[in-house]
Subunit: 352 residues, 2 copies
Amino acid sequence: MAATVTLSDVAREAGVSLATASRAINGSANRTVREDLRERVLAAAARLRYSPDANAQAMARGRTTSLGLVVHDIADPYFSSIAAGVSAAADRSGLAVTLASTRHDQTRERGLIEVLQRQRARAIIIAGGRTDDDALNAELRRALADYRAGGGSAALVGQPVLGVDTVVIDNADGAAALARALHGLGYREFAVLAGPAGHLTARERLDGFRAGLAESGVALDPANVIGCAFTRDGGYDGMQDLLRRRGSVELVFAVNDVMAVGAMAAARDAGVDVPGELAVAGFDDIVTLRDVTPPLTTVRVPLVEVGVAATELALAPPSDEPRLVHVEATVVLRASTPPRHPSNGNGAGSAS
Amino acid sequence: MAATVTLSDVAREAGVSLATASRAINGSANRTVREDLRERVLAAAARLRYSPDANAQAMARGRTTSLGLVVHDIADPYFSSIAAGVSAAADRSGLAVTLASTRHDQTRERGLIEVLQRQRARAIIIAGGRTDDDALNAELRRALADYRAGGGSAALVGQPVLGVDTVVIDNADGAAALARALHGLGYREFAVLAGPAGHLTARERLDGFRAGLAESGVALDPANVIGCAFTRDGGYDGMQDLLRRRGSVELVFAVNDVMAVGAMAAARDAGVDVPGELAVAGFDDIVTLRDVTPPLTTVRVPLVEVGVAATELALAPPSDEPRLVHVEATVVLRASTPPRHPSNGNGAGSAS
DNA sequence: TTGTATGCGTTATCAT
DNA sequence: ATGATAACGCATACAA
């Protein structure tokens, strides 16, 4: 910080007091600075190329102008879409976004929250689903409670288990609707790439899918529920497992799109035609899907809007009770799950 | 900011002076606090759940702990990969990343730099290629010079036209190598989805491609150079244009991958088989490409590493002259550009 | 309306 | 080694 020009310099240059300079440059609460003075100040500021120090302002005002965003991996289209929404909404509120990434290590979340707290971020948005690790959740809960006690507000995208405002995606309903839709298309034999054990989003989607199937009178064979990482490579590996010991499965539901896309790659590499030999469906409707082949059936989550909603939630006046904003997930049928066993008419690969 | 615990509180609780508390909690320059005292302080801090105020520290120390990143669109895989690299490198240096997005409006870049300057970010990374708008560049140049005069350092990913350290991607060489490789595969009739007029990255890639072709004795018909936006939709629209008035084009080179992917979608929607009827190549090798069909030939740019390099450049001790780090771009041939007119042997669609 | 003086939370300088 | 105390750059309560 070499020759930084301060507000005092501007005041001197303009021949006014520090206070007047301050009031002229931002519009102080109890307004009014005589027009000629204000102009002198602004002119001086411009001449000196004055740049207000946000840190000093933060100290003096007692609040910063920044908002924290915690993601697992910014290169994942799921998170980058949410980030785009958060960024847009923060912009509108004149807030700068501080991006913190766990790099897929949940245990780092706590530390990131603390960093954001040290920065006195006005609000923290945590994207990415929770796990059922109670100890970890308790820790986070406490970190967030602390943070909020200091005047910050937080919002979560996922499951409302941290005691803060939460944007809740209707995973179960969406997955159930998907199951019904697929059943309606004629599918009867399913497998699920179910993600990791403790992952709540994965679980909700699996459970919802299973429930939707049950409604249609179809049971999901536990042997066809395959655990794997919640990533593209997890989907790839899971699909390999499945193909190795495939029974009569007609359709594979991956609990998120990046996994589904990985699964399709595995099928391709194994020479299994999608959807000819095996249909695939995902969840999220990440933008990438526009350009995969075949177009992937999925359950759409409006990710950018989710980011906006989380930001607005976090920025809204605080409430006593954690608020919940529900976001619907809607089935989008595409070519990766063509109709099968049509009730009347001819089908592909059915009958004798 | 309700009941924020300050360092004074901690000092009082520990029965030491403010100064000692400060020294105990971070390791002050001239080290040493008696062990028992240090422990008392740390215990008190933990008991009170003390969280240092980064803004106050920034004021006192004269330097912040944050790094700014300017992108056009964080949801674009090109930028999100660079962001991942920047984020990782910043992490290693204990810096928090402030994400600023132009939302595809170049004129906003200037304002974003100013915001970052106000935050007194230690360094600013600007991702995304330059244009040939001299007025705009001069403005940015000045904004950056100002910022650097204040002690900040900046690094750019793109063309070294702003007077700051720059990570330069060998666009021309990469594109030329691609042209030669494609010529080697037997292609003779090319079209280019060339991006917008003033875009330097687009221009370098176009020029490089043209030069590579020329080396091989092939001329690029100006009528087959199609201007369009530097986005997926730009590629889609450009391809539509091309298909409408297609002559004998065998291969379409889109100057970046998202455009190429859009172009493939347009071809698909128009019922044109890729690569059967028309081959396609892109540039960047964004991660998305793993999962498009057919696999896209491209020129690989190590985006995450580029982000890391830019960050390291910006964080390195300042130098008088702007430094340049060159990053090679390497051709990756995939199924979207199968061999054609093989010199000896049988080819597809060649000869009579 | 304008100016003066104080405080924000921390580090660093200077005594002790 | 520890403790007062002066910055850091700005906003604001209060005085004029």
